[in-house]
Symmetry: C2
């Protein structure tokens, strides 16, 4: 189990393959307005002459456009999401901080939006993705694919169908943020809001509430692993260096790992983006999938205590109730929620078959 | 399920029934020294002429001496821990902030210990309890009883036997803090350490790092409930008042609950006490119970994801391997870790029988 963690990192390497497109002004569902929205995206593979092999990948709460990096187990030449066959699009979501318009973007007055960034929803993020796909000259998607929060976007594509979507793959997802999800999010948000550097959301570009954001990220990481994964990866082992904690006690590896994850996150992520995106997650709620015309594949993981199989099963049953073809693969893997990133076998097999199958 | 929560509060009412005893200087296991240690305690019931009916109750991470308050389901006249039959002792643990010596106590120079408070261990806490019990003229305990962290103290009494201990009841416990426990603790500690008001531990008495401590407590509460309890207690229901969050979104009840718990905690608890006690928990590790002479009863709860039944089962097996009588009762209750406080039936039945049974 250990090697799975070592060969995989949540943090994608920096890439200069990003492209950008302006998709115009956006009136948000909340009644706010962004005078112009920019989208950072990347593509892999070639769009077929019939323009019918495009796939959109939707990232999780802290992701970016570099899907081939953070989902390298599934995306690439010869892999389940085969870039030799498909035209694969990754984009940074609205509200993010990796190239797309978000709270840290500059408003028309040359200052970051900060507290002026409107409340956004999953629907708004999908609207922006829709404009991106249109800008690429694509009028139907072979698949929309997402993991964790990305499932919300994939579901919204299926529900709303701004363009036809043949297939939807949702891994480690759920129909809505439940009370426990919201509780973890709110605790993380409070860590940010109570950091004096947050300043009501209007911090200086290079003085973000890094301490609060680090704690928020540590809270996130607590939910990404299963109890078994915590034991295998760390147990009660100590850090081997002479490093000591502030209280002169030896440092447990799990403490060092979480601090490292928290602090590293503050170098690549914006605190207001976390607030904005986590709130969008909390608001989202899929009551049913009536009207959806896609074929669905759901994957879930037995050790994922935050997004357990029962939640994906609820979505699977919604899809069946809507008259859609659907399959739910439950993978018995011990890595917790991170399984959706770490598993390149069970998901890959089901996904490969699902994407190739032209029965619908 | 809901009424269970409403009729029970983690926070015990203030009491003026506290008594105090000075138990002398303490050389801590860490090599530190406290020139004098004071213990706040309460008692209920009458010590029998044979002085053989005394029980010691060990509190959880944020508890106090008022065991009859926070464990009112089990302690009282006619209850499982029957104050008509037993002489029941509750005390605030070393390192605490409810009357016993802890980091917020005044050192000899009249200033709070703060950063000068030595690293303490579960063993040190038990040493102080031992001195308290001796000071009360008691030379053997009918039972030592603890829930959650309190189990560590009960186990240490059984292992070390500074005085004979006939029976040990440990509810929702574990043999050691595992990586997940340490991870949650460390994340909570980081919330405190990164609050600028913490000032290296030397904050002013009325200017503690309340924001960090509130977040730390919210993290704790996330682990006290089961996913099912979160759903029953809150679901996606909104707060009914006009109160709005900082971002003008309606407030979920679970958000309001967690903030209320976090903020309330800062009025009754000291941030350095949390650091001190949670570190003591992290260090504790019971490899076996060889040499123990007590009879054991363990209780655990199916929905307790932080202290699941498997951990109590490990202790039960250790007790059996040590040749002790032992029983492990697994209660199928939905309240999560808080079940140990909320359950007045399954535990009470097993405990009542266990305490009355004079077979050993």
């Amino acid at each position: 189990m250990k090697e799975f963690f070592e060969e995989n990192e949540r943090t994608a390497p920096a890439t200069d393959a990003r492209k950008y497109v302006e998709v115009g002004p956006l009136d948000t569902k909340s009644g706010g307005r962004l005078p112009s929205v920019k989208v950072a995206y990347e593509t892999w593979g070639e769009l077929s002459p019939a323009r019918d092999n495009a796939m959109l990948i939707c990232h999780a709460v802290s992701g970016d456009s570099h899907a081939i990096g953070w989902w390298g187990k599934l995306i690439g030449p010869g892999k389940a999401i085969d870039t030799d066959r498909y035209f694969v699009i990754g984009n940074n979501l609205l509200g993010g901080c990796q190239g797309s318009t978000g709270p840290s973007s500059l408003a028309e007055d040359g200052q970051p939006y900060g507290s002026r960034f409107p409340i956004i929803t999953i629907e708004d993020m999908v609207e922006v993705q829709y404009r991106l796909v249109q800008a690429l000259g694509i009028h139907g998607l072979h698949a929309v694919i997402g993991g964790s929060m990305g499932c919300f976007l994939a579901l919204e594509w299926a529900r709303r169908q701004p363009l036809p979507v043949r297939k939807v793959f949702a891994s480690a997802g759920c129909p809505r943020s439940n009370a426990m999800h919201i509780g973890f999010h709110e605790t993380a948000r409070q860590a940010i809001l109570r950091d004096p550097q947050w300043r009501g959301g209007d911090y200086l570009p290079h003085k973000q509430p890094a301490d609060g954001l680090a704690v928020a990220r540590m809270i996130g990481h607590l939910t990404y692993l299963s109890p078994a994964a915590f034991e295998t990866k760390f147990g009660r082992r100590m850090v081997e260096t002479k490093e000591h904690s502030t209280c002169s006690l030896p440092v447990f590896q799990v403490e060092s790992y979480l601090k490292h994850q928290g602090e590293g996150f503050t170098k690549r992520f914006d605190a207001n983006s976390f607030l904005s995106i986590s709130r969008a997650m909390d608001q989202y709620d899929v009551p049913h999938l009536k009207g959806a015309k896609s074929e669905f594949l759901f994957a879930s993981f037995t050790s994922d205590w935050m997004y357990p199989p029962a939640l994906s099963e609820e979505l699977h049953q919604m899809a069946l109730a809507a008259g859609c073809r659907s399959r739910h693969v439950i993978a018995d893997l011990p890595f917790g929620h991170d399984s959706f990133l770490l598993d390149g076998e069970i998901q890959a097999r089901a996904l490969s078959e699902f994407l190739s199958n032209r029965s619908k």
